[in-house]
Symmetry: C2
């Protein structure tokens, strides 16, 4: 009934993330995200559908309840791993994603719980994303991208949708991390940058980047 491999976990996790980002999830989008060829993904999709982990209709790839449960377990292990790496082993937030991608498949349910306990049951990963609890319950705050704020509006950073180490390093030097308050000073027209104020300093921020920073 279960029949799970690390690859299947990887696919389900990706599908979960992509469907959060935007519906529907297409074969090509998934292939790109996993860095695989479309036919490889096509094949696996058929297999996952056969295991009742996803449904594959006209309107794209959707996780079934069972598939969603597994995906959230993997995400929980991923984000707990990241917290372990930053809070206990002293990694910086830009160094943890790749490492966690490997750890998430090597962690038993027991270890998952021990990590959570040892860290005081953290609610989010270092990038601000919520950690599903052990029953798969996921608390999502109502947020909007920084790029949608108008001049003079402000918000508190909740999360940063970015995995690229270089970009995360850059954001850290600006102090753009969860729980930090940002104020938009100015929005340049024609899709130009935002001028933001973070703890006393002013920076110009591209729209692209700003859209990945979620504030409340």
């Amino acid at each position: 009934m279960e029949a799970d491999t690390p690859r299947i976990e990887e696919y389900l996790e990706s599908i979960y993330k992509l469907q959060q980002e935007k519906h529907p999830v297409s074969t090509s989008r998934l292939a790109e995200h996993l860095k695989l060829s479309p036919p490889s993904v096509s094949e696996m999709i058929r297999k996952l559908a056969g295991k009742d982990l996803i449904s594959h209709s006209e309107k794209g790839i959707c996780l079934t309840e069972h598939g969603k449960t597994i995906a959230k377990k993997v995400i929980r292990r991923h984000r707990l791993s990241e917290r372990l790496l930053t809070d206990i082993l002293g990694f910086k937030w830009d160094e943890v994603h790749e490492e966690a991608c490997r750890l998430e498949h090597a962690i038993s349910p027991e270890m998952e719980e021990r990590i959570s306990e040892s860290l005081g049951n953290p609610k989010t990963c270092p990038h601000g994303h919520p950690i599903p609890d052990k029953d798969g319950v996921l608390i999502t705050e109502k947020v909007r991208p920084l790029s949608e704020l108008k001049a003079a509006q402000k918000g508190i950073i909740v999360s940063v949708f970015e995995e690229d180490p270089k970009m995360l390093q850059y954001l850290a030097t600006l102090g753009l991390m969860p729980d930090v308050c940002v104020r938009v000073e100015e929005v340049a027209p024609f899709g130009g940058p935002l001028i933001v104020c973070v703890s006393g300093s002013r920076y110009a921020l591209g729209r692209e980047v700003a859209s990945k920073i979620k504030v409340k």
Copy 2:
């Protein structure tokens, strides 16, 4: 030149352990240890020899320098993982082996170093086996099995060559763990049990078990 997979790591690690236990390492012994069929092992042995990780002569399977280096890296990661599990995450010594078997293949050199540093560069795993340093240098104490002690002799436990959780739990209830002093009260004849004294209590201990406990 490298070309490494988790399976190859697993084989090299097993060969290293088996050759420490007893020379020479045979295909069948390796197959039994890895819980694989002899032909599967035979095949992999040929592959490992082709990669210059082992030599396969009349007198069994031997690691080359290169193979030994990799094996020690894996063992380092395994034992550091065990320490992480006991010292930081609160696992008991009988719960860590299997978990570490998965972690050892998921840990980057960076994480390896961070674990070591965070734990104060531990010299042994929870079972008393030495942890190779980052250059692969391994300090081995001169030890002998508890089973070789005569009546009235005593020693300090250095390590316990056992992975079975049940047995480790049992030994822990007797207090037979590294750094503990044991005195042999009596040795029953005809391969019978040893009567040992540990921190004030007396226990009868089978020869088989006693041979796995190394003392100095």
